[in-house]
Symmetry: C2
Subunit: 319 residues, 2 copies
């Protein structure tokens, strides 16, 4: 059985994810990669920390999956294609069963998106995972937050709110109706534990969307950031929010809307599209929920009436 | 005064390091970078954790410097030129004075090596810093650990052992002679707190060195890794170790040799050079300390005699 740091790296981290054509992968001082000609490189990094981003005692498979998923989601929001990942894993102890589950969760998602783990760092300390993903995008084609214009339609992929409700369930913070279906409860927990980054949609949005952001801190907060970066305001109609059947069943309509607008951890994409390009969205799993507008700030409406709403998204250092 | 996460990022992390020509830097879902044509990309990542890699209460300026330095050192060991950095910073609280010192330490070193901070993540949690640096190297010219051959000379830059002695001083683990010079003590502490990555030397070694590794876990352990990757053994003569005057004065000869062979945190380069190419090292601050040899393992010698020696370098999960 391997025990030390280098034996652990050899055993658990050498062949994670897809096999791409990489000059030098895990095992030297750095990875050597050959980006394709005519492309820009997109680089993202995100950390998840125990008891901050996921409950203590979360399944290791979920932690491995989420650490990669949150980064793939950022790459998708840039319209880029993920290619390589680096993993900095800080662990209180070298529990081999935990590592096997963690790398299985990370590796399955990496395989699914043709991403190869090419390097990393394994250190002792409080449980935290920092992943960095490198992707490629045809030169100057990256999707930014700043390209939106008043009149563009606002879209969201999937069904936001599910993950936040799932986390509330996992943490025992949500009183559920006695009639709640076990499958609905399980589906919501799964959405928190194993979010699906929208990589294929992100790539399809290149040349179509005017701006894009991924939903990590909540739809209202993240759309506000997109609107601010685009120099305009935004208007969202809560009656248009694509709320999932499990979310409506478990949380009820009012709480479901609240989860969808303010809950983090969705890792869906929110993007804007000029009206003339809307036909190009044909076949994409997304829903129009509002429009960018002149002015500043986010107006949350129910049909034609603006409703009171205030939430700026999750903030690690809010006072 | 800014308080939340996004205000902190705006205030402290927007303009760190050099200004390079970057399509998209801090502030979107990811950074967009344009690697030069005809080059490979080198990607490295390293984490430093409080109480593991640096003593609790270390100066924030040193933490910022070291978090970048350990990564620049890895890039240098690949013979690459560092260009861009991403910073994942996990902090227990948003102390603005601490952040100002941290970013000053990070930023000064980044400027010195023409590196731009292009992205990152700021989260709450136990103090840990993960930095990822991207560098470029002419296609197929990266220095690997695996290119050494029996007969190649082994070189080391600078004066290894100083940083480990400095850390022992900072932790009060070393009894110092009453006569020890204050300047010598300060110099050793400084070598731990503000290591100088050997970026210029790493670039100069392209096409000259046959193999290269940076010294993070101790000369003996790291040279053993290089020899193993090169499929050969190595022989080091302790009488040839370039020990600094402060190290000899403070620790004495025997302990100085031990620090140089087994102490971590040097961030010097250890590299091998075929005898015919030795003249090309003219002007580089490095010292020949041994040779690669047929066989396996590291022999530590004093002149012609092999001495008893056993140390495999720092291991986070040694049992």
């Amino acid at each position: 059985m391997p025990s030390g740091e280098f034996a652990l790296i050899d055993r658990f981290f050498r062949d994670i994810g897809a096999r791409r054509d990489v000059p030098v992968g895990v095992g030297d001082d750095g990875a050597v990669l050959a980006p394709p000609a005519g492309h820009d490189l997109v680089a993202v990094v995100d950390t998840i920390v125990e008891s901050v981003h996921f409950p203590a005692g979360s399944p290791a498979r979920s932690i491995g999956h989420r650490a990669l998923a949150v980064n793939l989601s950022d790459v998708a929001a840039m319209g880029a294609t993920a290619a390589w990942a680096l993993l900095a894993l800080t662990l209180p102890e070298a529990d081999e069963r935990w590592l096997a589950e963690f790398t299985a969760g990370f590796g399955m998602l990496a395989h699914a998106h043709d991403v190869q783990l090419v390097g990393g760092d394994l250190t002792s300390g409080p449980l935290a995972v920092t992943v960095q993903v490198l992707g490629t995008v045809p030169r100057s084609a990256a999707l930014l937050r700043s390209g939106g214009r008043p009149g563009d339609l606002v879209y969201v992929t999937g069904t936001p709110g599910d993950a936040a409700c799932g986390l509330a369930l996992l943490q025992g913070r949500l009183r559920t109706p006695a009639t709640a279906d076990a499958a609905a409860l399980a589906a919501l927990r799964e959405r928190f534990l194993f979010p699906a980054p929208r990589c294929a949609i992100g790539e399809r949005l290149r040349g179509v969307a005017s701006a894009c952001i991924d939903l990590s801190d909540g739809l209202a907060g993240d759309l506000s950031k997109l609107a601010l970066a685009s120099g305009c305001g935004a208007r969202v109609d809560v009656t248009q929010l694509p709320l999932s059947a499990p979310l409506l069943e478990v949380a009820g309509r009012a709480a479901a809307e609240h989860f969808a607008l303010t809950g983090g951890d969705d890792y869906e994409l929110c993007f804007t599209v000029p009206p003339a390009r809307v036909p190009e969205l044909e076949g994409l799993a997304c829903t129009a929920i509002g429009r960018l507008a002149e002015g500043r700030g986010l107006a949350v409406c129910r049909g034609d009436s603006v409703i009171e709403f205030s939430h700026s998204g999750f903030d690690h250092f809010a006072r």
